[in-house]
Symmetry: C2
Subunit: 565 residues, 2 copies
């Protein structure tokens, strides 16, 4: 990588001015919040510091903040030259790589809205999103071109080489030429901090995906919260395992720059690459869902890295087993919770001093809670399910750790709207707060703990059994690597839990061809920990579980399996 030379157009002029055009008539003490300013500060203060490393490819690249900022400026000018106007949507379809990292800043610099599209969708789904968002232009990684074959929207392809003849680099270089060296002061700053920043489509398991529109103000505040909660700084190195297209990478594209951290982009979740970076690239932070975390700590390369690593975990609660494995490996787990509609994380499990005296099992049970509003988030509540038309005020459930309600939230870390879907927006904001759709209890200490999405509750003999709680207990069995529990209909009880289990690699051989013996053992394990109605009636060993592109277990697929049994 040491012989990589950025394109000529990537090199900033010697007297670069890192300041946007002045906004007319702005009060001197009010500046619209915009995460783009983080990049300008980083390029000003640490121009020589490495901003972006993309190493595990045929053509590795590395950019310092000075060069990277110039490339992003070029992108902004290229978009403007193309005809992008403020508020337009610019789609980006790419795995983690410089293209999508650039887009999170460059599209904002053109005052347009970044529209990251999940690379693992089907072409028809991608086409739906392109049409619904009415993107004016698509920035597409070479491996994703098949997804946009039928689109009429113009496409810029990146071959992910960083070489001058790469079509994406040509696009950037043309932008530089078009700029006429007006630089940053030639770009107008967005005067409205509530203007759109990102339009992310949720990968809904049912119905059409919905477009979640976030704002500049929200992105700014959420990014700072993530940087603060992660205690990031200029010595931090962030490894991109979480796809950046997922909820705009939980605002880490900006949180990293706010912290002056170095970012390493990984195109795929490759445990060999991950461990090489953990052990040799000084990685200090990464985000991933528990399923990916399980893969990481169980990788054959796993060993204690020389530096401290903070693992930011969301998507599901980490199990006791996972927490123990992470801590053993010298990785500090931070459990956060959020949705695309909340810019990624908006709650955090805040560890208490007193927990250090508890057993791992007890501590893990507390750490599995989604916790409290984090840094710049506001109100997080658990409310009774609303009936009627959604205009009645929300009523808190008692803080008893038992009564199940829905998590709602409001404040700056909440999306602006579902794009072009006023009906869905109205429903989501019924009673004046955003409805997460996640069912939870509220503990006396104010921590929320997700029980289940309503469809994940198993109604067994008239009792509500939480599939999540059952999974937590089953995963404490030392031979269980991953487990997912869904409802299966039962003549006597209505529903009963069925568990799908992936065994830990070390124990696979022990149970080979002994499915029923394992089933018996796991049921015994459950009986000691769970009420009868919550014990799994069926256990099936699987070599893997079906997952979404972002690593969430696809319970819908398991329910399909179950419905045919």
């Amino acid at each position: 990588m040491s012989n990589f030379v950025p394109t000529a157009a990537s090199i900033p002029p010697k007297d670069v001015k890192l300041r946007l055009q002045e906004i007319p008539n702005l009060p001197p003490n009010l500046h619209p919040l915009n995460p783009l300013v983080f990049l300008l500060r980083a390029a000003q203060i640490y121009p020589q510091k490495v901003a972006l490393i993309h190493s595990d490819v045929i053509h590795p690249v590395v950019y310092n903040f000075g060069v990277w900022a110039q490339r992003i400026q070029n992108l902004a000018y290229a978009l403007i030259k193309f005809g992008i106007k403020p508020g337009d949507r610019v789609g980006v379809i790419a795995p983690n790589c410089p293209l999508i990292a650039d887009a999170h800043h460059g599209v904002l610099a053109a005052r347009a809205i970044v529209t990251p599209i999940n690379t693992r969708l089907k072409p028809s789904e991608v086409e739906y999103i392109i049409e619904h968002s009415s993107c004016s232009l698509l920035l597409v990684d070479h491996e994703c071109v098949h997804l946009v074959k039928s689109t009429k929207v113009p496409v810029i392809v990146s071959n992910d080489t960083g070489l001058a003849d790469d079509p994406y680099e040509v696009f950037l270089s043309d932008g530089r030429v078009f700029s006429g060296e007006r630089g940053w002061p030639g770009l107008s700053a967005e005067a409205d901090e509530n203007a759109g920043a990102v339009l992310c489509y949720t990968s809904g398991t049912t119905g059409r995906p919905k477009g979640v529109l976030t704002t500049l103000r929200g992105s700014y505040l959420a990014a700072i919260a993530n940087a603060f909660e992660g205690q990031m700084n200029r010595h931090s190195t962030y490894l991109w395992i979480l796809p950046m297209f997922h909820a705009a990478g939980w605002t880490f594209p900006w949180a990293n720059v706010f912290s002056f951290a170095t970012q390493i982009t990984l195109r795929t979740v490759n445990y060999t690459h991950i461990w090489r970076h953990f052990l040799h690239s000084g990685v200090t932070h990464y985000c991933a869902a528990p399923t990916v975390q399980i893969g990481i700590v169980n990788g054959p390369q796993a060993k204690k890295p020389p530096q401290d690593i903070t693992a930011i975990i969301a998507g599901a609660a980490p199990t006791a087993h996972l927490i123990a494995k992470l801590e053993e490996t010298g990785i500090r787990p931070v459990h956060v919770y959020g949705l695309t509609e909340t810019y990624g994380p908006f709650t955090r499990n805040f560890e208490q001093e007193s927990w250090s005296n508890l057993s791992l099992q007890e501590r893990a049970r507390l750490m599995a809670r989604q916790g409290h509003a984090f840094a710049t988030a506001e109100e997080v509540r658990v409310v009774h399910a609303t009936e009627g038309d959604g205009d009645e005020p929300l009523r808190d459930v008692p803080r008893d750790g038992k009564t199940v309600g829905e998590i709602v939230t409001r404040g700056n870390i909440v999306m602006k709207e579902y794009f072009r879907d006023p009906e869905a927006t109205r429903k989501a904001f019924a009673g004046g707060s955003f409805h997460s759709g996640d069912l939870a209890v509220w503990h006396p200490d104010g921590a929320v703990a997700i029980m289940d999405r309503s469809k994940d509750i198993i109604i067994s003999g008239g009792e509500n059994a939480s599939s999540l709680a059952i999974e937590q207990e089953l995963s404490s069995h030392p031979h269980v690597l991953e487990v997912s529990v869904v409802a299966r209909s039962h003549i006597k009880w209505g529903e009963r839990p069925m568990a799908f289990v992936v065994l830990h690699p070390q124990h696979v051989s022990k149970w080979r061809n002994r499915q029923s013996a394992f089933e018996k053992e796991l049921k015994e394990h459950a009986k000691q920990r769970l009420p009868g109605f919550a014990c799994p009636e069926w256990v099936e060993i699987r070599s893997e579980l079906p997952k979404t592109s972002t690593g969430k277990i696809l319970k819908t697929k398991l329910r399909n399996v179950v419905s045919k049994l």
Copy 2:
């Protein structure tokens, strides 16, 4: 302290709701920024964690976040009961103690404006501020009562005991009764994030003090910036050496709570107390001007504390000598710069990797620069002095490290206005940016470096000599503890520098009755480091230098001395 029991009114009810009244018609994704929410979060997440320690008094007190939040709620209700309306000013005159810490949150909770008044002013100056701000009520520490003898404004006195019969405690308890246990949800939240938060009067050396009005939004963003730049977290302990009445303690009253840090309040700058806390109370952060820092590192108790300490330095640049002494003692210096008008710090000296190879002298010279905009601050520029009526656009000086101009800034970390002084406000914001009045050069890397306030420039033989630069060089002499340089008129050269020196205690005896020998030695030291026109013509040894209540050297007093020579 272990036997201290908070008053009955300080104990929160078991089912305390840490949420203000809902603001009607608020969009769910917009919440007015308000630093008061930090307290509500801290009391929710860490109710048992120690928030405030006030130990070095006859009646020491300690409050955890749960109790402290209740006390602040009581204060808000007490103010409302008294008749305080949104936007009213509530004065507070106190050294660092719970009263003034409470006021920074409780007055905001009543939607009023905190008006901290410098305790070292003369009664007539205090009276001027009370009248100019038209405070409706004064919260006054028992030691400051003499300052408000002639006022007609009602006064609540605190004897700083925390005991039930303390008049301040009676005031709080009455507030609790008045609340009728409506709690936080009985208090309305401020809907306008640009409403006033703090009104701080600058201790101007000439003319009447001006009232600097800040906003809730600015306080929120500045506090987060200070917490982030200081890398504070729930394991931090902040020692109050800087007076809280000084620019609202640089927003640390909120930055500490945002970080869930423990605060220790010290009524006076007492080096014995400071070192006891450094060595035995786990202090991790404090703020102070260099003169105070000098006193700290030269204290007889000084030794390496068991934990890392970050010293946030502002008010003047730290000298090489001070930096070396701090680092020797295991204290990490962070040099920031700001004014009351900028919520305290808004720039920071950002250390560069490459500096670690430099000599201490070279590193200190770089660390003395005021640097770049920090976390949530925006544009910092150095511009040519404006002539005319202030409507012409500001012109940047070249970034050559030589051309002297004025530091200007704009953005969210800039005051709203000078209270009831539109003319001063207009002048301060000429050209659309706030004028700091500090003269500086702009280095090619974008760092600003203060040369001097215009009146501190010495015009020696037609050359502009920076008294600051001269002080930097003289202070590198190992026997110099503190030095201040002012202009003294000279028949031939117009002006020439005169240096006032405080010797390091260890070297006082060496130079006793040898004033002229020391003068010769220091001039020799200067000649090797400074151009001829900048070498001091006169040197005077003093046992101490005149200082403001906030530790800034009073050059006006030295100029008075000089004018009579």
